[in-house]
Symmetry: C2
Subunit: 333 residues, 2 copies
DNA sequence: GTGCGCTGTGTAACCGGTTACATTTGAACA
DNA sequence: TGTTCAAATGTAACCGGTTACACAGCGCAC
């Protein structure tokens, strides 16, 4: 064990073959006789040979690394999403490098620069609003990228996700169908997420259906949701339902109600967005929209791999989400 | 823009210097005159030159990539931890590649093989129990690694984290000090985490103090905590307090109580572990132990970078955690 | 027997940096 | 003016793969 790691030339020497043949075997090239293949494979495992990724990347100009830049990892939708991407890429021999932008364009740009400097073959971005500088950088180097958590057939870039405006509309119609006419929509910071803006716009389009439809922005956290709904309850705004654009906010709404002794859904209804894994366990179980975070991760991973392997343009894909009716929305009338 | 990306030779040609000089400037070597440095820097930005990471890694045998293998990303303690590592590494020009093991040794091994095959310079592992094969692989290639979420001065490998047994003991003493004598400890799967085992053992060592001290294993989720505590409440086990080895389980306990109309802390006390960001927002606010996930991530990142830059052995570090008293534990008597 | 095509393998250039060592330049000093 | 030495820069080998191209060997058709 003098040498730390065996190189392809060590394997070549050991087998008496040339490095070209070793390379062919390792990469599954068919133009190798079965006997030779076995000989090489045997030597590889005996010498514990692992191809040097840097050398391979240098020759092939492909690193088999894909980069994802996400606003935060601390919300479990993103965690689920990332987890699914990692799994899917891994299945095809690709790895994931991660950067977190904190929903800040400058940080996103810096992250992209770093990841590009690492040799990422493709980029996964959140949402469809990104700085010119970022897009220019990727375009110049011809690195493929995809926008996620959104689906927009009009976008000239590939998108994998769902139609946020439509989803918000569906949620609102669900409340409407249950007799709610005075609804408060609670959402996270608009400046941080074009998905939030799309949802708000989608909801706002249905204004006409309601007696009252108000929008409230609050930090995207349990505490944020709690504070926001707490204020509304204290003001006596008289909303019969709170539509929260995240289950996290909805959980905050639960505790705001608990604080003032309001019962869900008897006194007030709450509807979420995401279907996080605890949504069924809360009391009462939360009615929400099931966002396919894992499915989206798989789809993104699959399309990226396909794009990189075949150098075909990346596929877009719309994912569907459905409302999960549980016990937090009262049927009025 | 005929060429997609400029290489060091393009910059050399542009400036009339040699590649060696360009390389020196780019890497901050001091043996370059100020005039030349400016000339080169100017050409670099004009040509939008980014060094090819594969070529650099090939010559230096260092990829500036560190790998982390974690059991899951879907618990926000891990998400926070990873986020802090990513930030810290980024500050020093390193990147993070992530793999998720689902707390399975075989998956962990496969992930490590993949990441090693990607050229990771160092590894971050969770806990201190790992397969021989994994450790052998890392040792053979002399890749440094660190165990996290644990602190064990007796461990021959570097550890960065906290003393899980001690923490569990502290939590239990807190309950004791508040007059609790019949306590149920609720924890996640022992088979999946040596940290859980350590906590259980730390708690069990204090058995003598209590009239009753029982241990219950349940899936590590809100639903798991809810089901487990729900059964205990239904059985009339008569525990005055539930110590949950995760805030997630504690939240489940809250809903189990809500289900049967028990008030926290009047009827039953609940204590958590982690201090997740919503712990203060729940009603009543959760008494828990503040685990320094971010601090741990920073520490790990810092030590890894230092180890890689100086090739000194990696530092161990103990992090301290403290009990956050809020409103979920009743003072009895 | 010659020529053709096919299979399997080898040769060597190349990818784009880094760096040991060689060389040039110029200032200081005798 | 010649010598010495340090600072600045250049030369070229090397890292460990991939792959275009060359070529040997063989079967087969004519």
């Amino acid at each position: 064990m003098a040498k730390i790691a065996a190189s392809i030339r060590d394997v070549a020497r050991d087998t008496g073959l040339s490095t070209a043949t070793i390379s062919r075997v390792v990469n599954g090239d068919t133009k190798v006789s079965e006997k030779t293949r076995q000989l090489v494979l045997d030597a590889c495992s005996r010498l514990d040979y692992l191809p040097n990724p840097a050398a391979r990347a240098l020759s092939t100009r492909r690193s088999r690394v894909v980069a994802a830049i996400i606003p935060t990892i601390e919300h479990s939708v993103f965690a689920k999403f990332i987890s699914a991407i990692e799994r899917t890429l891994g299945l095809h021999g690709y790895s994931l490098v991660l950067a977190i932008s904190n929903a800040d364009e400058a940080e996103e740009l810096a992250a992209a620069r770093k990841l590009l400097g690492m040799g990422a073959d493709a980029f996964i971005l959140s949402g469809q609003t990104h700085s010119k500088a970022l897009l220019g950088m990727l375009a110049k180097r011809q690195v493929p990228y995809v926008y996620t958590s959104v689906w927009d057939p009009l976008c000239e870039q590939p998108t994998v996700g769902y139609d946020n405006a439509d989803l918000a509309g569906q949620a609102l119609r669900h409340l409407y169908a249950n007799g709610h006419r005075r609804v408060a929509v609670v959402h996270g910071p608009l400046a941080e997420s074009d998905r939030t803006v799309a949802r708000r716009d989608g909801a706002r389009a249905l204004r006409g259906l309601f007696d009252t439809l108000d929008f409230f922005e609050t930090p995207l956290s349990v505490a944020g949701g709690k504070a926001c709904v707490g204020h509304r309850l204290a003001d006596g705004g008289g909303y019969s339902a709170y539509l929260c654009f995240s289950d996290v906010l909805a959980l905050g709404a639960y505790f705001a109600c608990a604080d003032v002794g309001k019962q869900i859904p008897q006194d007030v209804s709450v509807m979420g967005f995401d279907n996080l894994d605890w949504a069924e366990a809360v009391v009462p179980p939360l009615t929400t929209i099931d966002l396919p975070a894992s499915g989206m991760g798989e789809a993104v991973g699959t399309h990226i791999v396909e794009c990189l392997e075949t150098s075909a343009p990346m596929q877009s894909q719309q994912l569907t989400a459905r409302i999960i009716e549980r016990g937090s929305v009262a049927q009025l009338t």
